[in-house]
Every structure is written in structure tokens, then in C-alpha cells.
Amino acid sequence: MTALERRGSLPPSLAALRPRRVELGLIFLIAVVVVAAYGLASLGQSASVPANIGPFLAWMLGLFFFVHLAVRRFAPAADPVIVPMALLLNGLGYVMIARLGGDVDGGGDLAGLQSVWTAVGIGLFVATLILIPRARMLAQYRYLFGLGGIALLALPLVPGVGIELNGARIWVSLGPVNFQPGEFAKIALAIFFASYLVDAGELIKNRLELRDLVPIGAAWAASVGVMVLERDLGSSMLLFALFVVMMWMASGRTMFLGLGAAMFVAGGVVAFQLFSHVERRIDAWLNPWADPQDSGFQIIQATYSMAEGGLTGTGLGRGEPDRVPFAETDFIFAALGEELGLAGTAAVLMAFLVLIGSGLRIAIRATRPFETLLAVGLTTLVAVQAFIIMGGVVRLIPLTGITLPFVSYGGSALVSNYIVLALLVRLSHEQRVAAAKEPTP
């Protein structure tokens, strides 16, 4: 670590912006919002201030402050809005999960577990910042990430390890730990695509040779193929989007977008023919009221839930979002829509847009192609995943079960998103330090 990167020794032009002070202010504001929401949700439900509001406040402020200190120590120049936006989404999601009061099969409540996952996620966020002082070093392990990503994707298919749940085989049970390896595979694949395309992209740009496309084609085929085998359409769409965007980004050939779209449509048609559940999803999207008690049930209940919320919502704890199946996970956006209204859902959209904007700004300003591509890839992961599930819940696109980043309940998803966040923070720090060092023209 150079002296410049250490705390208090930012380049003067950057230090004047006081990015960490801005971040601390935002974090404090968000802490107030989340604690208020937590208290209101409890008041709305039981007319009592939660008994644990003190410990909750302390725990949350502790976690938030810990994140802030870690960024201040290990990436002091980073963009000050990325982390607060993630914490806001995480906090709102946690309040809703706690308010829904669901229990885990086999004991324990979801909210308690989610708070543990948040702590683990923040822990891994800090660990990532520490372990990866320079994003570039990731590129050295490109094939490790590529193979690792595919292995993680395939893991749920391994007999005795994978578990099928709710029709999708995306879970892995290793001893006492259950997790969704796909959530981590997407990061590994984004890193692999970024580093591979830095070189291959130049080649593809000039002359397209099949040979250059083999590794990346294999990665794509494996990811999509595995996803189809695991019947996880949401993740499949996400990886596909990641792949197409990064190919286009690296090569500059718009052809890849067209090709990607064509392949996507073709894949969709094949899937529609091959898999009854794809057909069901499409039918439920086009007209859920044709089968209101079965295939259309979830989306109809989500629609009623959000309509109930209207402009300003029923108020936290005052609605009935538990009438929607999977309200803590896939449909948490509907639950927020019911109790916080259009105002709340619009706020969530804005938070994601701010995150996406920051991510793309990092990509634009990054000095080297690998960092640019990685920033684009990671941002695309967050942007597309959030769009797929929110679009599905509001019936803009067919519904596919996938978590809303930072908001939904789910350990693997939350932890992996904090890793994505850490990488973006790392990239931001590097880019801003580099930019500050350049003489102003």
C-alpha cells in the first residue's frame, strides 16, 4: 500500500472533497431511516415500540460504522454513495423481513438469520477489500475464476450435494451449510469474462476467429446449459445478459447484441417447447387471471398487494403483504410496494439507479480495460438482477425466481452482493486515486 492510499494522505484535490465524511453523513441518515422504519413497522403491527429497538440500533450502527471504518482504512478515495445505497437497500429489506415475521423450517426466524447474513456479508465485504488491494490481481487468476465459476454452477447437479427446492435445483448442502453457489459463480464469471475479454476483445474487434471464442463460448454454454438443467431461469437470464453486455463492451461489435438477442429468443423458444414450467411462466405473465388459483396466483397476489399500497402505502406493519407467497424473497418488492406505496418502490428504484450510475461512472473513468470491463460486469449483474425480479413482480416481464439484490432474504445472495460491492468500492478507489494523480489539463 502506497502512502497515497493510506488514510489522511489522499491527493489534495480528492481530500478536499472529503468523500468519507460525505459517506458517514449518508450512512447516519440511512441509519435514522432504517431504525425509524423498524420502529414504525412494529408500531403498525402491535402498537408497541419493539423491545429490542435499543440493541437493534446499536447493532446496526455498529455494523454501519464498521463498514465505514473499513472503507476509510482500505479504500479511502472510493465513491461515497455506493456503500450507503447498499446499506439502505439492505436495511429496508431487513425491516420488511422482520415485519413479515417468517420462520425458517426447522427453527429460527428469518429476520434473525438475515441479521447474521448481513454481518457475514459485511465481514466478507471488509475481507475482500483487505485481500484484494488491487483489482488487477484478480486478472492473474482468470482461468481459476472461469473454471471455478462453472464448477460452482454445476455443483447443485452433483448427486448427494445438490438439493432441489421449489422446482429449482440451485442449492448445495455441505455439512451444516446450505448455500446457492450460483450467487458466487456469477462474480467469478464476471471476473473471468473481464480478464479474458481484455485480450480476446482486441482480437474479436479486428477479425473474428472461432478459436478466440472457444473459452468464452464454453463458459457461456456451460452457464446457460447448467442453468437450464437446474431450471433456474432468472439466473440463466442474468448470466446471459452479463455475457452479451461484456462481449459487446469489449469488442465494440453491435453484432453481439443482435446475435445475443437472437440466441436469447431462440433459447426461449426451445425452452418454451422443452420445459412445461417455462410455458407456465409465460402464460402466467401474459394472462395470470386465466389460472388465478395456480400458475397465476403469485403474480396476481403481488399485483393486489402493490395496488393496495397505492401512492403512499398502507404504512409499515399495516398491510397484508404476507398474503403474497415468498414475500421475504422473490416478492419482497411487492411487500415494500404494499406498505410503502409507489413512493417506496420509486425510492428503491432510485437507490438501484444511483448504484448503477456509480458503477458505470467507475467503468468510464477506470484507466485500464480490465477494470473498466469488471466494473461494467459487476454493475450489469446488480442492474439486470434487480430489473429481472422487479420487472417480474410488476408483470413487465415473465416472472423468474431470483432475489432482489441486498433487499431479499437470503444468505448467499446477500453475501455475494456485498462482495460485488467490495469490488466496486475497490475499483472506485483505484480509479479516483489515479485520476487525482493525473495533472489537470
Binding site: 399485483t303 404504512g315 420509486a346 428504484l349 439507479l353 448503477i356
Partner: protein, 517 residues
């Protein structure tokens, strides 16, 4: 690459903008459609499944309460422990058919959705389950039970009302229905039960006591008598009409006779005692006239919506159109008077109209005069209360679950039905009817009781009629505390004795239950 990243950013912004537009559709533009969507059971579940307050009688009997439902998306259902006894008043809350009776009229208070209930404390700003209201009725279970038992399995209605407040003490109609199956959770069963009740020719769902009108027969003579005193200077003792068995209406029309062809007459007190048709026909048509009769009937609440705190009350009817004015009575009767056949006629200038013959009929409660049993109880009540007719109501107050009173129904005057003088005289006359006349079966030892019978003939082959009685009762030396009306529908026979024989004992049972309770 920068240009492509910007384009990617534009694509993301576009996607999220479309998402935002769709959100606006779901949550704002089309939200109302979705909220009231046919398949959206949220509103029904919310109304049906939430806890509601109790409905209790004035003597503390719980007639409706919420019981928790296990293992269902519906949290509570209603239970009606008194079954059919209060079904017509309390109504029921059903998932498929909506709410009826007090369950409908006091829905907000029972559910605790009124602003004063919601915002009693800051705590209530967030939760509504502690705000459910208890609705306290003016009705008494013991009196209602007496009405139910005394009427037995005869179609009819019993209404007992506190004339000083308008508070309804009992209101029973047979046949009634058990509301419990209609509040059930099995929608199919509820619908079947409801349809079966709708198809029943006796119409058990209909609270006839206040939602159905009947020919009031001779009980209506009380209104005619009040009109006579208020508008035609008639007293209980003057004039004295000659004994007659037939009344020939002016300007023309078929003769009108007394029950069984009997002969009667005398002063107003005597005419009321024996319920003399011929005398009252003449009083209405030739002494009071159309204006006075219509005005008095309307003062007594006919032709108006009754301001009761229950849904769909029926309007009692008194015909208002008697055609064009022709000439004064003495134009027609002068010759008779000159011959000295008639009495002294201060009514010489009463106008005769084209349809005064019909007025003669309506004056004795025939033709198209129709009244609810509630209306007739209010007629007796107005006479017992110095001419002041109070707004009828079945609810006295709404309390919070802690027993604090949110709302009290204050007694409120509906109309001045008649003058205090007429009320006094008619009280006296009605007491006479109960002591010496057709309503002797109404008398209760130790109480001051007044009454008037009625027999509204429906047909002659075989003869059958509605048996009526209206009356009031009080302790000696005090104001009357209770006014009653009883109708027993379509009883065999058609004599003026029918009302006294059939209906009076029922009214007496109600009076006894009230004063002994």
C-alpha cells in the same frame, strides 16, 4: 469503450424508466381496478375476517360477538348466541352476501374504523384491533323473548317502544331465521342457506316489523280521532253522533257498514270504545276533510322515511289525492239537518272533494292506508308522549372495548304528531277502550293501560283479517313508559273482536314482561 458504457447506462435508465411506468400503472393508474377486482378478496377478508365488537341488549345479553377461527386466512367469524330472536335487528355479517341489520348500519363502529375510535390515543393510530366498539341496544332480551313466545308460530310482528325516547324495547317478527349459518366460512353452504331463505314464501329474512306495510284497520282511527280534535273542534263528549249501521258517503259511493252489520255511534269516546266505522268515516270525510286528514297522518309519520337506525325501513302510506274540491258539507247535508235528523253540525263548511268517499274509507284505515307495525307503535307512542313522536332507534350507545362511551344516541324529536290536548284526550279514551271496550284483553292489573284494536279485513271467502292492537302502559300517576303494536297476520274471522282476542294478549305479555323485568 466510454461511448458504449454511456449507451449501456442509457439502456439501464430506459429499462428502469419502463419499470417505473409499469409501477405507476399497478400502484396508481389501475390500482383502484385491482383493489376492487373481482378476484381480489382482500376487502372482503378485511371486512369479514377482522375482529368486531359485541352487540349487547339493554339488559346485558350478548347477541353478537366475534370468535377466533383457527387455521384459516379468516381470523374471526361472527356468532349469534340468541339465534333467530334478534336476527331481524342485528342482522348478520356474511362473507358472500355482505352485512345486514345493525351489522351493516354500525359496521364502522363495530370494526373500530371511525375516526374517534381510531385516534383515541396515539397507540390507536397504528392498530385497529383494540378499537372495536361494543354496540349497546335499547332492546331488552326479556321483553323480546316474551314477544317471541307470546306470538308463537303465528305470522306477525310485535313492536314495543319507549315513547319518551323512541328507544325500541322489543321488535319481533315471526317467521325469523337463524343468522349463524349465514356467517359461516363455507361460502357454498352460506349461499345455499341464503337462497333457501330467499325462496321461502313466508320471507323469513324480511323484518316485517319495520320493513313491511299492512292495512292498519281500526288502529288508524287514533289518527282520525287526533285530526278530529286538532282540526274540527271535536271533544271526547261533543258532538254525539246518532246510532247508525251504515254511512253513505258524499258526494256518492257505496255504503260503508260496521263489522257484522252492527249499529253504533255516540261521542268520540264511545265511537273509539266500540271502534265505530260509520262514525269515524263521517268524521274523516265530513268533519276533518282531506287537508286535515292528510296533514295529521303526515304529522304522525305517514308518507315519510322513518329515521330509524336500521337499513331499508318501509314508508307507511296515507293516500293524499282526493280529487277536486266540490262544495261544503252543508250543501249536501242541509236538507237532512233541516229535517232535524242530524246532529248540530259545526262541520257545515268542511269541503267535500270528488273522492271524499275514499277519504271515508281511509279514515277508518281502509283503502290504500298501509303502515308498518313500527309505525303503529309510534302512533300509540306519540299519543302516550303528549303528542311528541320521537325518532325510533334500537341502539343506545357505542362503547369502546374498555367500556368508555364513544357515542350516545340522544332522544330526539321526530315530529309533533298531535296537540297535547288531543294526546291527553286520546290517552283517556284509549284507557277507556282497555277498561271497557274492545281492548279489554290488554288490561294489566296495577298498570294504567290504554289500547285500540284493529281488524283489517283481507277477504271474505273464507273470512280472514290482520288482527291488530296498539297501546301504551305506565305506572299509575306516571307517564306511560311503553307503547306497543302487535299484528297477527291473516287470522281467520273478520269481526272487530279479532284484534282484541288475538293480538291483545300478546301485547299484554310484552307489557307484563317489561314492567316485571
Amino acid at each position: 469503450m466510454t461511448a458504449r458504457i454511456r449507451r449501456l447506462g442509457a439502456v439501464f435508465i430506459l429499462l428502469y424508466a419502463v419499470l417505473f411506468v409499469q409501477l405507476n400503472r399497478v400502484q396508481f393508474v389501475d390500482a383502484e381496478d385491482y383493489r376492487t377486482h373481482e378476484g381480489n378478496i382482500r376487502p372482503q377478508l378485511r371486512a369479514f375476517g377482522q375482529e368486531r365488537g359485541d352487540i349487547i341488549t339493554a339488559d346485558g345479553v350478548v347477541v353478537a360477538f366475534s370468535i377466533p377461527v383457527e387455521d384459516s386466512t379468516i381470523e374471526f367469524r361472527r356468532s349469534y348466541p340468541t339465534g333467530e330472536r334478534f336476527a331481524h335487528v342485528v342482522g348478520f355479517q356474511s362473507f358472500n352476501q355482505g352485512a345486514f341489520g345493525l351489522e351493516r348500519e354500525y359496521n364502522d363502529q363495530l370494526a373500530g374504523e371511525r375516526l374517534d375510535q381510531q385516534f383515541e390515543s396515539l397507540k390507536d393510530l397504528f392498530v385497529d384491533r383494540d378499537t372495536t366498539g361494543t354496540v349497546v341496544m335499547t332492546m331488552r332480551d326479556d321483553v323480546q323473548q316474551a314477544a317471541q313466545e307470546a306470538l308463537g308460530e303465528r305470522r306477525g310482528s310485535v313492536v314495543a317502544i319507549d315513547p319518551t325516547t323512541g328507544g325500541i324495547v322489543a321488535m319481533w317478527t315471526y317467521p325469523s331465521f337463524d343468522p349463524n349459518p349465514l356467517a359461516g366460512l363455507d361460502g357454498t353452504l352460506v349461499n345455499e342457506t341464503y337462497s333457501a331463505l330467499l325462496d321461502d314464501p313466508d320471507d323469513p329474512l324480511l323484518a316485517k316489523a319495520y320493513r313491511e306495510v299492512f292495512f292498519p284497520g281500526s288502529t288508524f282511527k287514533l289518527v282520525t280521532a287526533a285530526a278530529a280534535i286538532d282540526t274540527a273542534d271535536i271533544s271526547l263528549t261533543n258532538p254525539v253522533w246518532p246510532q247508525a249501521n251504515v254511512y253513505s258517503p258524499l258526494p256518492s259511493g257505496s255504503d260503508l257498514r260496521n263489522f257484522g252489520g252492527s249499529t253504533c255511534g255516540g261521542d268520540l269516546r264511545e265511537a273509539l270504545r266500540v271502534s265505530c266505522n260509520t262514525t269515524f268515516a263521517e268524521i274523516g270525510a265530513e268533519w276533518v276533510g282531506p287537508d286535515g286528514m292528510v296533514r295529521t297522518a303526515e304529522n304522525f309519520g305517514f308518507n315519510a322515511a322513518v329515521p330509524i337506525d336500521l337499513p331499508n325501513a318501509a314508508r307507511s302510506n296515507f293516500p293524499v289525492d282526493y280529487g277536486a274540491r266540490l262544495a261544503d258539507v252543508d250543501h249536501y247535508r242541509a236538507a237532512e239537518d233541516a229535517e232535524g235528523d242530524g246532529p248540530f253540525l259545526p262541520n257545515g263548511d268542511t269541503p267535500i272533494h270528488e273522492n271524499s268517499a275514499i277519504l271515508a274509507q281511509t279514515s277508518i284505515g281502509q283503502n290504500d292506508v298501509k303502515a308498518t307495525p313500527l309505525q303503529m307503535a309510534m302512533v300509540a307512542g306519540a299519543i302516550a308522549n303528549g303528542g311528541r313522536m320521537m325518532e325510533p332507534h334500537v341502539v343506545s350507545e357505542v362503547r369502546s372495548s374498555d367500556g368508555d362511551v364513544y357515542d350516545t344516541v340522544e332522544p330526539s324529536l321526530w315530529r309533533v304528531a298531535t296537540s297535547p290536548l288531543a294526546a291527553d284526550l286520546l290517552q283517556e279514551a284509549m284507557i277507556n277502550v282497555a277498561e271497557n271496550g274492545t281492548a279489554r284483553n290488554l288490561a294489566v292489573p296495577g298498570l294504567v293501560v290504554g289500547g285500540k284494536t284493529g281488524t283489517a279485513q283481507l277477504g271474505t271467502d273464507p273470512p280472514n283479517s290482520h288482527a291488530w292492537i296498539v297501546g301504551f302502559a305506565g305506572r299509575p300517576g306516571e307517564d306511560a313508559e311503553l307503547a306497543v303494536a302487535v299484528i297477527v297476520e291473516a287470522q281467520p274471522g273478520a269481526s272487530e273482536q279479532t284484534g282484541g282476542a288475538v293480538a291483545a294478549p300478546i301485547a299484554r305479555a310484552v307489557i307484563e314482561a317489561y314492567f316485571n323485568g
